[in-house]
Each structure stands twice: as structure tokens, then as C-alpha cells.
């Protein structure tokens, strides 16, 4: 199924066009994007670390402090999404905004807000995980594989 046949166009003409398009296509500014991702992702992580220290200061052990810290960060991500600000953070910070747990909250809350016009069941219910779904599916699949490997290797 060659496109030259479909279009009755000289394939060389298509190749020349695509070559030219590839040559002049505006590219992402990778360097600047990486710097922003580092700053934004770093700032969120720093904030999370601060929250964790605050819980430790209140007498939580460092292991016990992790859970309430996650809850605070998820709450922050959800709040900022609801206020319509989180998408601006990611627009600037890219993966630096998407990857931390606040970004996961954004990926859940954004569809929840989006699909409420289609109802509680077929809207929010069915589409809540449209963005975060792959993370859950492959995250759980990987956790299963690692668990099996650990069992087979006999480490506990």
C-alpha cells in the first residue's frame, strides 16, 4: 500500500517534499525545556521534602512521614488543577511538572472536571483514568513482574 499508488503522484516528489519539511520544521528548544523541567520538577520535590521534614518535626518517623506527605502533594496538585493553574506549570516545566505525584493528581482531576458534562457514570466514572490509566496498568504489571521475580529468587 504505497502512498505513491494512492495519490498517483511521483514518489520522488513526495520524498523531496518530506525531506524539505523535515529540514525546515521548527524544533523544540530541548536545552531550555530541560532546564525548565529541572527547575520546576526540582521546586516541587523541594517543596515535598519540606513537607516531609515538617511531618518528621511533628514526631513522624521518616518512613511514616511519607504517606501524609504524598497526601499533601496530591491535594496540592488537585487544588492547583481545579484552580486552572497546574496546566500552566506543566506548559513551562514539561515532565518536571507531570512526573511528580502532583502531576499524577493533575492527570486524575483534569478528566474528572472535563467529563462531568457527560454525567457521573459514563462521564467521570468511565473516563477518570483516560490519562492516568496507562500509568496504573503498566505500573501494576511491572510491580507484579518484580514481585514474581523476587519470589522466585527467594529473597524476602
Amino acid at each position: 500500500m504505497g502512498i505513491d499508488v494512492r495519490n498517483k503522484v511521483n514518489p520522488d516528489r513526495i520524498r523531496r517534499f518530506q525531506d524539505y519539511a523535515n529540514r525546515i520544521r521548527p524544533q523544540k528548544t530541548v536545552g531550555i525545556n530541560l532546564a525548565w523541567a529541572f527547575l520546576v520538577g526540582g521546586a516541587i520535590s523541594l517543596f515535598g521534602q519540606g513537607v516531609m521534614w515538617a511531618f518528621e518535626h511533628e514526631g513522624f518517623s521518616s518512613q511514616a512521614a511519607a504517606t501524609p506527605t504524598s497526601i499533601v502533594l496530591v491535594g496540592m496538585g488537585a487544588l492547583l488543577t481545579g484552580l486552572g493553574w497546574y496546566d500552566r506549570i506543566v506548559k513551562r516545566g514539561g515532565m518536571g511538572g507531570s512526573l511528580p505525584i502532583t502531576g499524577f493528581a493533575n492527570a486524575i482531576v483534569a478528566p474528572a472536571m472535563e467529563y462531568r458534562s457527560e454525567g457521573l457514570v459514563l462521564g467521570i466514572g468511565a473516563k477518570l483514568f483516560t490519562v492516568a490509566g496507562p500509568v496504573l496498568v503498566y505500573g501494576m504489571a511491572m510491580a507484579f513482574l518484580v514481585g514474581v521475580a523476587r519470589y522466585l529468587l527467594g529473597t524476602s
Partner: protein, 341 residues
Amino acid sequence: MAVQRSGESSYQIEGVYLGQTAAVVGPKEGEGPLADWFDRIWPDEGTRYPSYEKAEQALLSEAESIALDKSNMTWSDVDVVVGGDLLDQLITTNFDARSHSRPMLGVFSACASFTEGLALASLILGQGGPSTALVTAASHHLSAERQFRFPLELGYQRSPTASWTATASGVAVLSTRRSDLRIDSLTIGRVLDWGSHDPNDMASAMAPAAVDTMVRHLEAMGETQAHYDAIVTGDLGRFGLTLAQHLAAEEYHVSLGEKLQDCGEMLYDIQQQDVHNGGSGPGCSAGVFSGYFAENLRSGRLHRILLVATGALFSPKSYQQGESIPGIAHAIAITRQEEGQ
């Protein structure tokens, strides 16, 4: 009235005229360089409506009302409505049509729907069918984002070649009643697929179709680009303009130069408004034509233009399944009747 075929899919039209036009746009479009040319600018994206789909319908129906008011017409004077939009099953056009209940032809060529509508209406009016048609197209940035991309509040980065679906609607009255602006000729586009795959770069998918239609139109009419004050594409954007100029020059030996303009490139201040490649959507060419170009033809600043709206014919499913993105473009030439002609 007459329609004369010329070449494979080009037609010369006699006795069909462009009457009044109207354009209603969103707030971002109203901050762009063409703000003064629109009939109405919304203060927000339509948050007063229960959904952005409903907002898009309202955008369309407002432009229709303005066009009818300007023409001193009521809905009963409209013999047929020819319109299109981007949303699945043409819900904007069809749901708006249940309020006016006039005979309706829904069309889809994605962002080329407006010129498909103009071409279809010109052909049927020119052959003694209906005598007055309303041609419409609309798009809304947020309803298009919902359908084609991600939930609105989800953060993500747009690529530099991505276009910004315009919140805009454009409506044109076509009539067999004589007026200053005449529908001159048209070319029905064909679907071309040159193997582009990136939905964030529709310019590469549409530029071949735009140039193909343009060149076939000029050949069929025995014209050159010198016969037009402007050759206007729909939403190729900044990158697409460069591609189209290069393609026309290198492969077809047509030097378009400054004559080639693009509604999507004109609608926004691309640097200041952060729209990357420029505007897109059926409402983009419809709004910019109905506002800016139609007014400039009426005032005599332009005498003859070729509007070549461009469409990328993909769906979210088709590109997820790995299909390439076909493009289409329909062309329509509009001429100002000089005194005594």
C-alpha cells in the same frame, strides 16, 4: 446563471453573488491583529453555556443572525443552509439547524468545510436550484481540544508545529441577486496523502493538497497568480506557508511570493499570543474571510482573491491506529464587480 466546467474539477460560475458576511470570534481572536474586522468578539470562551459544545453552537447562531440582519433577511428567505464544523456528527451545525429549521446540507472537509460549503452552494445556485444560501462554518478552541487532544486542565506541552483551533464562526450569504461581489470560479479539491503522520503538524499534511488545488485551479482557468490580489489558504500557519511556497515553486514552477497569505497566520500575533504555528479550525478561514477579506473586497482594497481553505482529514482513532493524515483543499475565487461591468 450558469455553471461551466473547465478541467477536471473546476467550474466557472455566472450569476451567483456574495452578499453579506458575518464573523463572531472568541476573546483570544479578539486580541489578535484582525480584531477590528469582526462583527462581535466574545468577552470569554462561553463559560455562560453549560458546555463548550453548546458555546460553539451559540457562536454559529450569533453569526447567522448578524448576517441575516445585515442582509435585511429573515430565516424564511434562506432556501438552503450549507455548513460544517469539526465536532463528531457535525453536532454544531446540525443542532444549530434545529432552531432555524431551514433546509440543511451538512458538509465535512475538516478545516476546509467553509470553502466546501461555498463551492457546493455556488454550484447549486448557479444551476438554477435554490436562489439564496447561507454558508456557515464554526469551531471552538475548547470543544476541539476535548475531542482531539486532552482534557482542558491537563498540563502538557504543545509542539512548535501545533496549531491553535480558533474560537470563531463565519457566515456568508450567497444569492442569485446581483451585488458587488461575484463568485467567479471554483475548484473542488481531491484528497491527497503524502504520508505525514503527526497530528501536531497538520501543515505538512495539508500543504500538498493546498498547492495541488491552487495549481489545478490556475491551470483550468488559464490564469496565473497575477490574476489575484491574494491567494489565501485556510490554516497552513507559518510553517505551512513556507512549505506551500517551496512546493509550488520547486515542483509546479509557480512563484506565489507575497500573494500567498494564510488565515491562520493572520488571525493571531503568533509571537505574542503563543499559538505556535498559527490558528486552525473551520471557523478560522470562515471568520477571517467573512470579517477581513470580504470587507476588503467590498471596500475595493482587494479586487479578486482565491480562497483555498485546507483540511487535515484525521480522527483521534485514525492516528492512534497509525494511519497517515490525508489533506484536502477547496478553492473559490471571488471578484469585485467594478462600476459599469
